[in-house]
Each structure stands twice: as structure tokens, then as C-alpha cells.
């Protein structure tokens, strides 16, 4: 800032440190809780400093809560959603901005409308579609007097867990915004060179989009990893559950003593991957978000 006011700087640092503490406090406490023995909770004492049982608790949570296979599920889901979302959206945005075809506007609005329909709002009927993916087809055919009865349930499947979450307007919109800022000369030059649209896309547009893609990767991965409601609803098979849903099983149940140490140990394992992704990819992530601010 302009003044070198010592006082203001000092105040700034104090506020910052307070902020960091407030933000970090819950995690610190869970770390502490995860490192103690269960007796600490039964007696009602509150530990403020870490204890010696961290590794022990984590490995207990890991085996007891089957965290290993749940993490794999989460990885598949988060990875699948990220891959799917980015590839579909970037192509759709490309089509919408760089082509003029009939229904272009309609297509754009259809994509955009999904911003207005988050999962929670359409949850019961989406569940029904996933329960029988041919139901739309059957019903439409039924309207024409054709009575077919295909049926396929996507409950308890990776497909059902990822695909409904893939098509969202956010990514398409982000890419669209970005493409609009790409200078027209690049495309014109491509056309003059006789390159096909896809070559342009591959050789020029895609590389330019790297920052955005990186940012979206972080956002989508975190989004996919943190999915709770949707997997909760469509899976009842414990083997298909991602870690965010499975972690609820670790929370102390009626028949058990208050094993919050295990629950917290499991929670730490759960939040580690997305935190790592955010922290490590911070640079691109912020760049990508900010670039579209302008």
C-alpha cells in the first residue's frame, strides 16, 4: 500500500494469522482427535495436544471402514467426471462459439439451462432415470403407440455415479467465455492455411486453453471427490460407495463407544487427496479462475 504505516502492517499480519488459525482450527483438532485413544472421549476429557496413536487409528480406520476400496471408487468417480466433463464441454463450447449452425442458439440455451437445475432439485426423477435408463425411451415410444420394454438399471454402477454429473454448464460456459477472448486472427489464419476446424482446435485452441483446463481439472476433481448426496442415493451396495459417503459409517454408532478418534482419522484420509490437488495446482487454479474474471 501507499503508507508504510507500521501499525497497519502489524494489524494486517495479526488478522491474517487469526484468519489462518480460524480456518485451520477444525483440521488441527481432528488431527489431535485422530491421534488419541478412545478412552479420552469416554471420560469426556478434551485433548488439545496430539497423542501417540495416529498411525494406529488411521490403519484401524482404513481396514475397519474399508477406506482403501472407497478411495478407489472416489478416484474413479472424480477422475471419470473430470475427464468426461472437460472433454465434452470443451467440444461443445468449440461448436457453439466457432460455428454457425441451425439450432446453435437453442443448443446454447439448453446447455445453459442446466445451470438452473442442480442435482438436488431434480433428484427424485433423476434417480428414476438412473434406476431405469430406458424409461424416457419407453415413455416416448409409448406415446407413439409402440410398447417396448427395455430396461437397464444404472444404480450401483460407476456409470450411474459419474455420467449424470458430467454435463454441466459451468465448464462449457467457462470455455465459451475464454474462446470469446481468443483473437479472431488465429482462426482466420487457420482457415487461410486450409486447416480443418479440428486441426485448429488441436493445434491452437487446445494448447491455449491449458490454463483453463488446469483450473477446471482442480475444480471438477474436487467436485467429484466431494460428491455426497448423489452417491448416497444411488448406491446401496457398500462396495460401490465413494469415501465421502463411506466416512459416515465411521461416525460413532449406537453399539460402539464414542470412537471419534477413528472417525477423525478416517476423515483426515478423506480430505487429503483433494487438498493436495488444490495446493499443488494452486498456481494454475487461481490463474484459470482469475483469467475469466477479466
Amino acid at each position: 500500500m501507499v503508507e508504510k504505516a507500521r501499525g497497519l502492517n502489524f494489524l494486517a499480519y495479526v488478522v491474517l494469522i487469526l484468519g489462518i488459525l480460524v480456518v485451520g482450527f477444525p483440521i488441527y483438532i481432528s488431527f489431535v482427535a485422530a491421534s488419541h485413544d478412545v478412552s479420552v472421549f469416554v471420560s469426556g476429557q478434551i485433548p488439545l495436544l496430539p497423542g501417540p496413536h495416529l498411525i494406529e487409528n488411521i490403519s484401524y480406520a482404513w481396514t475397519h471402514g474399508d477406506l482403501g476400496s472407497q478411495i478407489i471408487n472416489s478416484l474413479i468417480i472424480a477422475g471419470g467426471i473430470t475427464l468426461g466433463k472437460i472433454s465434452i464441454s470443451i467440444l461443445a463450447a468449440f461448436a457453439i462459439t466457432y460455428f454457425d449452425f441451425k439450432f446453435r442458439q437453442t443448443a446454447f440455451w439448453i446447455v445453459f439451462i442446466t445451470l438452473m437445475l442442480p442435482v438436488e432439485v431434480r433428484i427424485v426423477p433423476t434417480y428414476q432415470v438412473v434406476a431405469d435408463i430406458f424409461s424416457p425411451v419407453n415413455t416416448i415410444l409409448g406415446l407413439f403407440g409402440l410398447h417396448m420394454n427395455f430396461s437397464l438399471s444404472l444404480l450401483d454402477s460407476y456409470f450411474g455415479l459419474t455420467v449424470p454429473l458430467i454435463a454441466s454448464a459451468t465448464a462449457t460456459f467457462l470455455f465459451r467465455q475464454f474462446f470469446l477472448t481468443v483473437p479472431d486472427e488465429l482462426a482466420e489464419a487457420s482457415k487461410i492455411d486450409g486447416a480443418s476446424p479440428m486441426t485448429f482446435f488441436r493445434k491452437i485452441l487446445f494448447p491455449l486453453s491449458k490454463t483453463n483446463i488446469a483450473a477446471l481439472t482442480v475444480i471438477t476433481f474436487v467436485f467429484g471427490w466431494n460428491q455426497y448426496l448423489w452417491p448416497l442415493l444411488i448406491t446401496t451396495d457398500a462396495k460401490m460407495r465413494p469415501i465421502m459417503v463411506g466416512i459416515k459409517q465411521l461416525i460413532p454408532a449406537p453399539d460402539d463407544p464414542p470412537t471419534w478418534n477413528i472417525a477423525m482419522a478416517g476423515s483426515l484420509v478423506t480430505i487429503l487427496p483433494p487438498i493436495l490437488v488444490v495446493v499443488l495446482m494452486q498456481r494454475w487454479f487461481i490463474k484459470g479462475l482469475i483469467e475469466n474474471e477479466k
Binding site: 469416554v42 468426461g84 431405469d132
Partner: protein, 447 residues
């Protein structure tokens, strides 16, 4: 160019196909060994889960024509949801465990086959009259025939910390609400923070309270005799009881610590609370974990009660779903018949703590001397046998969207215990809201 985009498109299609393939393959039950295989979806978690697996293994090993595959489908709510969705998608199992609150919904659904008929048609004879009356009555139709198979039934008990009882100067376990409240007041006056804590408040304090005193929870015999039943549980005695409890929230003589059963079990086992009213299904846990002298007893009744009837049950039953191939129902019937045998009931009871279902099983356990070592379990059975045959008010409760009705009552109870509503206001609101739910259900299932 176009090739690139089509290759992307075909990649997408390939992934789609793979996904579909993977999705498909997850569902087919195996009958590679030539046995007729049937599916059973249940909600038994933890220890009971293992017992279910053992039970199924025993059946499979006992004969070589049929095979049962049991799958855990989450808690009762979730399992019912997945059952409904599966049914709509044509993927329902043969047998599904549904909690008692879902009884009317299942009966009205048109999606189930009555158990008594299934067994009859397949040539099995079960002496249904041998079943303990309250267990049988909860699930029978208007002709007293069983629509679903009782499986895990429980009844509420009062668990009491004997150390605290003695410290308060009592020599006998209280049998009446009046005596119990005297004890609770004395208990907290001695410095204790929590006297009575309850699980499943609607079941214990309302449904059972009214049933035991032969008062209606709802008209039309608690809904047995008509879909147009109305809630009437806010009678003067009920209001008086809840008033007494609400007044004691301040002192802790009565403590409310949340719905469900976590708080009560933890509170009682950790000796924070002196008395707990909970289901028989807590017996095992308390026996293993309580490190103090305690005793299970029947729920208290009013001192001036003219009539003391049986308690009503909770738990779940097994429903048979329509829509499977004919031949497979033979397997279903065989399995149900197997479960109905007294040996199985005794075995299930010993391993899980859920009640034995029939008088024969009960007598067998008595003869073995089982109850000498486990008096708590006998208390539960006696509570079901007390008062002769169940009256209209103690057969059970049969209302539509029952879980929602219970939820509205819990909602209002929380307002009452939190001091936000008087007992009269709260219970009236609960009755009104509950009646709205019932009317909605009635509309939904009436043609």
C-alpha cells in the same frame, strides 16, 4: 478433421458401452450350480449382519435345491428406497426386509404376495396360531392371516441402573410411572445429571403407552380397520405424562438428547443416565459393555390403570415381492418355512437378541434353562404375553406414511422439550400434521 471428432465420439460411445456393460454385469444372481437362486435384501448391520450370513449359509447347506443370496442394503430408510426404485425398474429381489412402519404401505402397494398364501400354495403348513399374539397381530390382515413374515421383532424395555436405585433409597424396581418419577427426582437431587433417557420416543412414550393402557393411538383400531383412521393420541393421560417429563428437562430427571438411540445407549452405558427406555435389541450391547449392576424391566404403567395390556412390537418383517418367475417362489416358500421353524427362531434369538416368535420357541428356551441365565430376555416375552389377547388398541399400529407421522410427532416433541410450545399445543399440532399426512396417503391409495 471429421475423423478426429468421430474418433472422439466413438471413444465416448465405447466408454458408454463399457459402462453399460459393467453396469449390467453387476446385477445378475448366479445360479451356476443349478440351484434355484433367490435374492434377499436386508438391513442388518454389524454383528447381526454376520448372523444373517450364517443363517443363510445354514439354509443353503440344509438342502440342495435352493440357494439364498443375502445382500445388505443399508438402513431401513435407504433399503426401502432402493427396493422401491428397484421395483420400478423391474429389478426387485424376491424377499425384502421392511421395518414395521412400512407395513401399511407395503400392504397397499399391490407389489407383494401374502406370506400365508405363498406357504399354503406351496404345501407348507405353519401353525401361525402358535405365534406370540402381538407379533402376529401387527402383520395380519382382516382375516388374521399373515401378510409378511415376522423376522426381527423387538419390544421396549426399561433398563435401570441398580446402583443408582439403591443410592436413592429404593429397594424395588419401579413398576409405575409415579414410582419411577419419584426415583428420578430423588436421583437428580443426589447430584446426578441425567435420570431418564428414552430411545424411539414415539414408539415408547406414545404408541406403547397408549397400547399398554388400552387407549387408542388412532381411530379405527389404530388404522387396522380403515384407511380413514385419525390420530387421537393426545388424550388427557398422554398429555399428563408428557407434561411430567417436559417439566423435568430442566433438572435432568428426564433428558432429551436427540432422536434415535445413540444418545440413550451411550448415556446409560457410560452411567451418565440412570434409566433408559430402549428396545430389546440393546440388551446384547448393554450386557457386554455395562460395567455396573443393572436390570431390565417392563415399561412402567400408570398406578391407577384399570387394565394393563401387552406392549407392541417394533422391528421388521420379510415381504415377498411379486414379479419373479413362478419356479423361484418355491425356493422362497422353502426359505420362509425354514425360518418359521422353532429351532431357527431359538437360534436367531440366541445370536441376536431379537425375540423368539412363537410360544413353542419360548417354551423351548424356558425348558433349556436359558432364561435362568438371561432373565432380561424373558421379561420382554412376558411383556408381550401380559393382559391376554391383544385388544383393538394393542394389536399394533397400522398407518400410512407412518415414518412421516412419527417424524411430525418428534418435531413437535422437540419443540415441547425445548420449551417452545406447551404440551397441549405441541401434541395438537402433531396430531393435525399427522392427520394431513394420513389423508394424503389415503388419497394416494384409494382408487
Amino acid at each position: 478433421m471429421i475423423a478426429k471428432s468421430f474418433s472422439k465420439l466413438s471413444l465416448f460411445t465405447a466408454v458408454l458401452a463399457l459402462g453399460l456393460g459393467a453396469a449390467c454385469s453387476k446385477k445378475a444372481p448366479s445360479d451356476a450350480d443349478g440351484k434355484v437362486t433367490i435374492e434377499w435384501w436386508h438391513s442388518m448391520a454389524g454383528h447381526n449382519n454376520k448372523v444373517v450370513d450364517e443363517l443363510v449359509a445354514k439354509f443353503n447347506a440344509s438342502q440342495d435345491k435352493y440357494k439364498v443370496v443375502a445382500t445388505f442394503r443399508g438402513g431401513y430408510d435407504e433399503a426401502l428406497n432402493s427396493l422401491v426404485a428397484a421395483f420400478r425398474g423391474g429389478k426387485q429381489p424376491h424377499i425384502a426386509q421392511v421395518y414395521e412402519g412400512g407395513t401399511l404401505q407395503m400392504m397397499q402397494s399391490g407389489a407383494t404376495l401374502p406370506v400365508y398364501k405363498l406357504l399354503e400354495d406351496n404345501g407348507y403348513k405353519v401353525d401361525w396360531a402358535d405365534y406370540l399374539d402381538p407379533i402376529r397381530s401387527y402383520y395380519w390382515d382382516n382375516n388374521r392371516n399373515l401378510t409378511s413374515m415376522p423376522f426381527n421383532s423387538s419390544t421396549p424395555l426399561m433398563y435401570i441402573n441398580l446402583k443408582r436405585l439403591k443410592a436413592a433409597g429404593f429397594t424395588k424396581v419401579p413398576e409405575t410411572w409415579e414410582d419411577l418419577i419419584k426415583f428420578l427426582d430423588k436421583d437428580v437431587s443426589l447430584g446426578n445429571k441425567c435420570g431418564l433417557i428414552v430411545s424411539w420416543h414415539t414408539w415408547v412414550l406414545f404408541e406403547n403407552f397408549n397400547a399398554i393402557h388400552d387407549r387408542p393411538f388412532a381411530t379405527k383400531a389404530n388404522g387396522f380397520k380403515g384407511l380413514d383412521a385419525e390420530l387421537v393420541y393426545n388424550n388427557p393421560e398422554q398429555i399428563a405424562l408428557i407434561k411430567k417429563l417436559a417439566e423435568r428437562v430442566k433438572t435432568g430427571a428426564f433428558t432429551y438428547d436427540g432422536r434415535g438411540s445413540d444418545a440413550a445407549r451411550n448415556g446409560f452405558i457410560s452411567e451418565k443416565c440412570s434409566v433408559m427406555m430402549e428396545s430389546t435389541s440393546a440388551l446384547k450391547g448393554v450386557i457386554e459393555q455395562a460395567k455396573f449392576e443393572w436390570q431390565p424391566a417392563m415399561l412402567p404403567h400408570e398406578a391407577n390403570a384399570k387394565v394393563v395390556k401387552n406392549a407392541i412390537i417394533g422391528g421388521a418383517t420379510l415381504w415377498v415381492l411379486k414379479g419373479k418367475p413362478e419356479a423361484e417362489y418355491q425356493a422362497v416358500a422353502a426359505f420362509i418355512d425354514y425360518l418359521a421353524k422353532p429351532e431357527q427362531q431359538v437360534w436367531w434369538h440366541k445370536n441376536t437378541g431379537y425375540m423368539p416368535l412363537s410360544k413353542t420357541a419360548y417354551n423351548q428356551l424356558k425348558a433349556e434353562g436359558y432364561y435362568k441365565e438371561n432373565p432380561g430376555h424373558e421379561v420382554a416375552v412376558l411383556q408381550l404375553l401380559r393382559g391376554g389377547a391383544p385388544s383393538d388398541n394393542s394389536m399394533g399400529v397400522r398407518l400410512g406414511m407412518f415414518p412421516q407421522v412419527r417424524d411430525t410427532l418428534m418435531d413437535e416433541l422437540e419443540k415441547i422439550f425445548g420449551g417452545k410450545a406447551t404440551v397441549e399445543e405441541g401434541l395438537k399440532a402433531a396430531v393435525d400434521r399427522g392427520n394431513q399426512v394420513l389423508r394424503r396417503f389415503e388419497k394416494t391409495v384409494t382408487k
